[in-house]
């Protein structure tokens, strides 16, 4: 009886095998993502400085959320995060799409060009940050030297001491690091578009711009939609670039929600408050992802 019960080859129980094979992955995800998430959620409702796993639970409170929503620092961090997401995502898409279209054409040295387009993606984030920190160094950096030589400015720009300049340094570093991902994804999408579509459009007399607008973009939309969500989430949660370049400064000009979470948790040891920021960030990410994925499905052929 029991042998027949465990017979996974039976058509009615074949899906059990699938669940069984998925079980280790689900257990792992539960352990490293779901459990910390619940711990974080629980901490966000406690007034707690440094958290200890085996410590008795503190009384339930909404103070962390009250403090968060009335804090100008939180709204500033939201604003900085949104600015970064919009600027970096848009620029990554413009550069990524442009370079993908370029290296999708046949020309001499295309392989090398593809390699250079993808190169920043292969460079570890911290190395990229160190390179850009040197390029934008306020006293001995390449960019100041170049600007002075070209007559763009007569005096040194303090890239990391001016709020606007610091924001753009962070954005440029992120764009450089992030556009190859868009490029690679788009290139894969471009190569899957049947040549017949373009040939038919050419017969109908469509211009290059019309072919791009009415064939390339709509067919690429599913790829672009997913890519956009992934890029946005990457910008949303990216920590190391900002931490190493500006540490959220000057004057919180580059303090995103992830930097604020880190500062509160490990800088000021306010774990409960930091958890509340983390939970709100998660909710914002989910909402943004749902909105973007919804748009993607509407835009498909």
């Amino acid at each position: 009886m029991s042998r027949r019960f465990l017979d996974l080859a039976r058509p009615s129980r074949r899906h059990w095998l699938g669940y069984l094979l998925l079980l280790p992955a689900i257990a792992l995800v539960a352990l490293i993502i779901v459990y910390p998430l619940f711990v974080s959620l629980d901490l966000s409702f406690q007034k707690i400085g440094m958290a200890t796993l085996n410590a008795p639970r503190k009384p339930f409170t909404l103070d962390n959320y009250r403090k968060l929503f009335s804090s100008p620092d939180f709204w500033n961090a939201c604003w900085v995060t949104i600015k970064l997401v919009v600027v970096v995502s848009a620029a990554c898409f413009a550069v990524g799409l442009g370079t993908a279209l370029l290296v999708n054409n046949r020309f001499k040295g295309r392989t090398l060009a593809r390699l250079f387009v993808a190169l920043p993606w292969a460079v570890p984030e911290v190395i990229a940050v160190v390179i850009f920190a040197w390029i934008f160094d306020s006293s001995f950096g390449l960019m100041n030297w170049l600007f002075i030589k070209l007559g763009v400015t007569s005096q040194m720009i303090n890239w990391f001491s001016e709020p606007t300049a610091a924001f753009w340094v962070v954005a440029i570093t992120m764009i450089w690091k992030g556009y190859p991902f868009v490029s690679i994804m788009t290139l894969a999408g471009l190569q899957s578009i049947p040549e017949d579509f373009y040939n038919a459009a050419k017969v109908d007399g469509a211009s290059a711009l019309q072919r791009f607008w009415y064939i390339t973009i709509p067919v690429l939309m599913p790829v672009l939609g997913v890519t956009l969500v992934l890029v946005m989430l990457w910008v949303f949660r990216d920590f190391s670039i900002i931490k190493v370049l500006t540490d959220g400064g000057p004057l919180k000009a580059t303090q995103t929600l992830s930097i604020m979470t880190y500062d509160q948790a490990f800088g000021f040891f306010n774990m409960g408050y930091a958890s509340a920021i983390g939970i709100v960030t998660l909710v914002l990410c989910v909402i943004a992802s749902l909105l973007m994925l919804g748009r993607k499905s509407q835009a498909m052929y």
Partner: protein, 421 residues
């Protein structure tokens, strides 16, 4: 028969020896020790010597020494303690241990000190380790700053070695130059870290503040920022940074390297600057003198502590480690190996003075700073120090970026600091 008897006797002795050895093997412990100073030349060697001594005194037991970078130290230690697996030997910076103590994670060392008869009278910076009337740590370094200068640059600019702030400012202005006329300043009068953490930022600006008598709090822990002295101190800091007498946006390590390579004329720093000077391209031109600020900046640096949650057996072993590190012998070797001023008043500095030409300067500076109870960590704001230092950094940066009146900035700092308490 005789042989058999001998064999039995030998076997019995061997069994006894094995039996005697077994408890030792069973009680062999591995103590975990996490530190950011593991690979630091000098002080790292000193820690290694303490570990060696401890292992020699505890045969079979070992110390597992792991390096964690300073930039990731607070996160790592917090995670270790939060997860219930703290290192057995706790090494923390003097500006961060308060948060751990406040959470009840650090053992009260008072009874241990008393039991061992460790005399901490005159132990530099030890009062910083008093937290809510308990001794939660032992101070391992309280330093006084020293003053490095580039003799050649000063000579070329026609200025003498400064002895006061006014002379320092004049020398810094005279030596900040665009040497090749390309419009880019490539030699600076002095050097400070102006980005990075709040704690370091306060340490960088503190000399200018303390020199005019400004203090963040008084002995009772009341905030005393909104004073004419602080306004003058902030004005000095603003002058140094705003007039680009220091390179901007560099880390403390990068600034020290520039000084060692002859790109900076004057540098006030801790005792560690000497070893960095020795490795620089301009090492022959670099000299040391007394700091042109009175009192010199001093400060507690790092502490040793014990977790409250470990077993009593392990606590004893950790205390043995602390006892070795604080012994006269090892406080004496700290001076020679780390080339720094040991906190113990009983350390014999004769050899260090013979080996290190400027050692007297360091001792004098440490004494002067300690006498004036100088520390970048203000009384009454120890637990909130990270938040406090970040606030001071931001308000000072705002003063420079938005060209604000230092008097208004002092007022804002006063309000925000009081709100933190």
């Amino acid at each position: 028969m005789k042989t058999i008897g001998k064999r039995i006797a030998a076997s019995a002795v061997a069994a006894m020896l094995v039996g005697a050895a077994l408890p030792t093997a069973a009680s062999a412990e591995v103590l975990k020790f996490v530190s950011w100073q593991k690979d630091e030349k000098g002080v790292g060697d000193w820690w290694a010597s303490v570990i060696k001594e401890w292992e020699a005194k505890h045969p079979g037991s070992t110390i597992e020494w792991t390096k964690v970078e300073r930039s990731a130290y607070a996160d790592t230690m917090t995670t270790l303690f939060a997860g219930g697996t703290p290192p057995d030997i706790v090494h923390l910076a003097s500006f961060e241990f308060q948060a751990f103590a406040n959470n009840g994670w650090l053992e009260d060392l008072g009874p241990w000190v008393e039991k061992a008869g460790l005399n901490l009278d005159g132990w530099s910076g030890q009062e910083t380790c008093k937290f809510q009337d308990t001794t939660v740590c032992i101070m391992m370094l309280y330093y006084g700053t020293i003053f490095g200068y580039n003799e050649e640059i000063l000579k070329q600019a026609g200025v003498a070695v400064p002895k006061t702030y006014a002379e320092f400012l004049a020398a810094a202005k005279a030596t900040t130059k665009d040497l090749n006329g390309d419009g880019i300043v490539d030699q600076f009068g002095t050097g400070h870290e102006t980005k990075g953490g709040g704690g370091q930022y306060i340490a960088e600006m503190a000399s200018y503040l303390f020199d005019v008598g400004a203090r963040f709090t008084n002995a009772e822990g009341e905030v005393t920022i909104d004073t004419p002295e602080m306004v003058e101190g902030l004005t000095r800091w603003k002058t140094i940074v705003k007039e680009n007498l220091t390179p901007r946006d560099l880390s403390a390590g990068e600034v020290r390297k520039l000084f060692a390579d002859g790109k900076i004329a004057l540098k006030v720093d801790g005792p560690w600057i000497y070893s960095i000077m020795q490795q620089g391209a301009a090492k022959d031109k670099l000299k040391l003198a007394s700091v042109p600020f009175d009192p010199p900046l001093g400060g507690s640096s790092n502490v040793l502590a014990m977790p409250s949650e470990i077993s009593d057996e392990k606590k004893q072993l950790v205390w043995d480690f602390i006892a070795i590190a604080t012994s006269d012998k090892f406080q004496t070797s700290f001076a020679t190996l780390a080339a720094s001023t040991p906190p113990s008043p009983r350390a014999d500095l004769t050899e260090a003075k013979a080996q290190i030409p400027h050692f007297d300067l360091m001792v004098e500076s440490q004494k002067a700073a300690a006498e004036h109870k100088i520390d970048r960590i203000p009384v009454g704001l120890e637990v909130q120090f990270n938040e406090f230092s970040k606030m001071i950094q931001e308000e000072a940066q705002r003063m420079i970026i938005e060209d604000l009146d230092p008097a208004a900035v002092a007022k804002t700092m006063q309000e925000k600091a009081a709100a933190l308490q």
